[in-house]
């Protein structure tokens, strides 16, 4: 009898516990923040959200960056159990998701004052977070996809200072190369690292209308004037700018190489700051300058290259309210201060002033504030195969595999062969 009562009590407790578990709502969020300060900050924000919302748990599905963009996201979007929220790059990917019916219209949620908490440019026509005037992406970061990081100690050793002009920059490259240093390290086996920089260079020297027309396949790259940026890449190669293993090296090992003083400069995005803690030795000092003005007569001579990244709520989510609640929490000033202090540029108003930013992030903020325009990287704005073809042409010229003229010819032939994308 005693045993029977104990058994019944146990069963009762188990049922109660099960009921409590059933009452718990789980939202699934997938992204590519697998390590570094950004991942730690995100985990902290998730923990804070769960503490403030005891009925909701957040299940993170995390991928390596490349796997996420290649296969990780697409397989999840089409699975039977879709993520409630997914990470995305603004621009072409968001427009594609909207067309395919994956993105949830957030306009109504934004209308209650949420949108007003972001900087105005986060939802401008060119920001890539809206489609046909409707909001589909919650901005999380303004990512500068390319700027030039440099090793302060080596610069000091050779008496160098950040360049004011492109000629100064080439002078630095030549000085370092002649001294036996590797001036620039780039890990370009995925093509986008150098491709982003080469696109920024192109955006600085090619007429903006023709630049856009070439990537939209409305004009050949030759007609648009892309010989000049490819000549610049070839000139860098001729001056011994790049590491010899550039085309076989990955983006992450190249970043590690910069922090380990294998080279003096490293053109890559603002996310480098978030990896400093994992990769740099104590006391490693580095700074940043943007690609110097190449053509002062160009309409946008000092543009910056960057994009917005953020989160999209899946159109088939079964928990839209909880998903939106989480994203509101994530983009609250309190959470964004945590996020910004981990090395991100927050799109939320006032966070830049509230957060304790390091020297590097202050430099990035100043660069953003001083830039006339922001140009997006081609692979988030135009059809990926066209962007990839330009990236490869730039790599050809930068590594000396082809001359700039041959690379341009290859580019136009390749884009023609692929047909209208």
């Amino acid at each position: 009898m005693k045993h029977s009562i104990g058994l019944l009590t146990g069963c009762g407790l188990a049922i109660l516990a099960g009921t409590a578990a059933l009452a718990q709502t789980e939202i699934r969020i997938t992204h590519a923040m697998s390590s570094g300060a950004g991942a730690e900050a995100f985990n902290t924000i998730v923990a804070n959200f769960e503490a403030a919302n005891p009925g909701v748990t957040v299940n993170q599905i995390v991928f390596d960056d490349d796997i996420y963009s290649d296969t990780g996201l697409i397989t999840q979007l089409q699975s039977n159990e879709v993520p409630d929220i997914y990470f995305q790059w603004a621009g072409y990917p968001v427009a594609r998701d909207v067309e395919a019916g994956y993105a949830y219209d957030l306009s109504a949620a934004m209308a209650d004052g949420w949108q007003a908490t972001f900087i105005d440019s986060a939802f401008s026509a060119g920001a890539g977070t809206t489609v046909d005037g409707k909001v589909y992406m919650v901005p999380l970061s303004l990512d500068i996809t390319n700027t030039i990081w440099y090793n302060k100690a080596i610069f000091a050793e050779y008496g160098l200072t950040p360049p004011a002009t492109w000629e100064d920059f080439m002078g630095i490259v030549v000085t370092l190369a002649q001294a036996g240093e590797t001036p620039i390290i780039e890990g370009n086996n995925e093509l986008w690292p150098l491709g982003n920089w080469a696109s920024h260079v192109a955006a600085r020297v090619v007429d903006p209308v023709k630049y856009d027309a070439a990537f939209r396949q409305e004009m050949s790259f030759e007609e648009a004037g892309f010989l000049r940026p490819l000549e610049i890449m070839q000139e860098l190669h001729n001056n011994g700018a790049f590491n010899v293993d550039m085309q076989g090296l990955g983006a992450d090992p190249a970043m590690a190489g910069f922090f380990q003083e294998a080279a003096v400069m490293h053109p890559i995005g603002s996310w480098l700051v978030g990896s400093e803690g994992d990769l740099a030795e104590e006391g490693f000092e580095y700074g940043q300058f943007d690609t110097p003005v190449i053509d002062p007569a160009h309409p946008a001579p000092d543009s910056v290259i960057g994009t917005i990244t953020g989160f999209v709520v899946h159109a088939q989510t079964t928990h839209p309210d909880e998903a939106i609640a989480f994203l509101k929490f994530l983009t609250s000033p309190e959470s964004q201060v945590i996020w910004a202090e981990a090395g991100a540029i927050s799109p939320v108003k006032g966070v830049g002033e509230m957060a304790k930013l390091g020297e590097q992030m202050q430099g990035i903020e100043a660069m953003l504030a001083g830039a006339q325009t922001m140009v997006p990287p081609p692979d988030t704005t135009y059809p990926v195969p066209v962007a990839e073809a330009y990236y490869q042409a730039a790599a050809y010229a930068a590594s000396g595999e082809k001359t700039s003229i041959e690379a341009l010819q290859w580019l136009d032939e390749t884009v023609t062969a692929m047909g209208k994308q």
């Binding site: 296969t71 697409i74 594609r96 293993d245 550039m246 085309q247 990926v384 290859w410 692929m418």
Partner: protein
Amino acid sequence: MARGDNRVAPISTGAGNILFVAPAMLLFGVFVLLPLATSLYYAFTKWSGYAEPEWVGFANFARAFQDPVHLASYLHVTLYIIGTLFLEVSFGLVMAVVLNSDRFGFSIMRGMFFSPMVLSMTAAGVLWAFVLDYRLGLLNSVLRSFGLDGWAQPWLSQSETALIAIMFVSGWRFAGFYMIIFFAALRRIPRNIYEAATLDGAGPVKQFFTITLPLLRHQMLTCILLAVTGGFAGFDLFFTMTNGGPFNATEVPATWIIRQGFDNNELGYATALTVILAVVVLIVSLVYLRVVERANVVRY
């Protein structure tokens, strides 16, 4: 007992037997025929994997025959197959002959030579990518330690050496496999043939070309078929060591298909490339089998 009573009952051809083959046919249909049919359909569409596929007729196939990287990928895979025939099949044969002995230590050497086969191709690729790394790799470290700094090269980062490096790793991985096939066949060749040849004054080299090679012809043809078809399907070493780079210098059909399908989100085009690859492998296999069949005909 009548003669007919002893005959084994013929396999029934009744409709009821379809029930017994139905599960196998169902599985074959669902997992082989249906994917093949849908692949054929997608090959004629423009499909990103995100939106609905759009019928484009033969446009993907027309593009494939104008795509310089795609065309070059067949040249690369042909070079790779030629390289593997030499480094894997030929070297495996030589090692089988050299190590064909019962003396002490030879079985251990055969085991060591075969041991790379126990590694997965992916693990072998990652391992060798470390060995051949320009900065920290074992090969360049050894060269530098001997003062041969000029010999240290970015083996996997330059077009001239990347494909050769992959062929070498493939040879390291598979030569032991072919050695075992040849070794097993060598053991079945009667010793008295060699003894008779020795009495007739034939040396080891002449014995190899007049006895060993002709008697290994069937195994040789099998190994060549395995190397050729395996070469066309080659993917994992290429993916882990160079991913088709640098500058598509190690791009083979499989890596180019993956790049189109998943990097560029052109699944329709990637499927068309897959159909072309399947047809090419089928044609090569049929031609090869036809040639082998003729070679095996005994003429009186």
